[in-house]
Amino acid sequence: MNRHAKPWVESMLVAYVDHQLDPAQTAAVDDIVREDAEARTIVSVLRGTGEAVREAFEQPLHEAVPARLLAALGATGAGRGAGNIVPMRRPARSVPMRQLLTALAASIAILFVGVGVGYVAFAPGGSMVPAGTESSKFEATLYRALEREAAGATLRYDDAVTGTTGAVTVAGRIASSLGNDCREFQHEWTGAQGKGSETGLACRTATGEWSMLTVPRGPAS
């Protein structure tokens, strides 16, 4: 990026976003942000990523503390310590996820991708299958279903290696904010550890692979 004689530096903008400047400094940056489109965009990215990072790691606040940690502090007794730590209820998000996503996506697109270029917002890691179904048969079946099957089609698999059988049902293509080529699917499986089911969303990446997220539903029983 060609930068010369800017009246700001990124570290000042991040302090502005995080309300760490004194009133005079804040007023000065207010003026800069009003005048300078690039500063405005960077502020927006810094704000959006800050919120996103906070959201991304909030999970531990919403679940019970594992017993081993309570034990480490000698708080294992029933009704004592352990009973006092209850997961917080998931609060209403201060910024709705979609709004956060859209605002951040727009800023990122301007700053890093170039205006007008389509934006794909995710790069989650790898294949995500529930415990007990690390089955290459399942993955191959899912891939085939995503690639070739019409909405509603169900493909079954039988993986002798892991002792798992299952069925994958794909839904139609959907255009989502994460990409134009996404499909929902349902996976039901039976293995040594019981039965389970999950719902997933798979989106085709820029490189033609499928990137996906699955969310188990209902306990394996």
Partner: protein, 178 residues
């Protein structure tokens, strides 16, 4: 109540936040919990070094941060960080798609954070995740405030850039051909 007993109870109430901090530092709930457990054990052995009237959470963050830095230095510590969603709760069906998109996005954010240099990740964890002021963050991490600011801006712009680069990086279904 003895002071140490009071601190211990306060530590118990801090556990959810310490777990969150551990999650953000390590990128994994399990590794984060290991860190919390070790830090709690260490904290109990050095309660006498805690100054009453100062922030217990910052003291714990500092212990965890230092243990994490030590751990990262040990050669066998390199482990792939998972960006999978830790959350397994059932979803409301009508909101499924939106929820999934949100989780895809947050998984991408975790991956982007995991790829940052450790010192940038630490700053993100104390400021963005735990909400410490820059001054408190500087004390916990033992670095100047200016360094907090520059690492923080670099880290957040890098996360933004990683999200912008989108789908390219190593995200594919394994075993994709039968």
């Amino acid at each position: 109540m003895a002071l140490s007993e009071q601190v211990r109870l306060e530590l118990v109430s801090l556990l959810p936040r310490l777990r969150r901090f551990g999650f953000a530092l390590t990128g994994s709930m399990d590794d984060g919990d290991d860190l919390v457990q070790n830090a709690c054990e260490r904290a109990l052995t050095k309660l006498d070094t805690f100054e009453p009237g100062t922030r217990l959470d910052s003291w714990m963050y500092r212990i965890m941060q230092n243990m994490w830095v030590d751990l990262k230095r040990s050669p066998q510590s390199r482990r792939e960080i998972s960006a999978e969603p830790a959350d397994m709760e059932p979803l409301i069906v009508g909101d499924m798609r939106r929820e999934l998109e949100g989780r895809l996005f947050l998984a991408a954010v975790r991956r982007a954070v995991a790829e940052l240099p450790a010192e940038q990740r630490s700053v993100l964890a104390v400021v963005c995740v735990e909400g410490l002021s820059y001054r408190e963050a500087a004390a916990v991490l033992d670095i100047p405030i200016g360094t907090v600011m520059s690492r923080l801006s670099r880290a957040r712009l890098a996360v933004g850039q990683a999200l912008g680069e989108g789908a390219a990086a190593g995200s594919k279904v394994q075993g994709r051909t039968p």
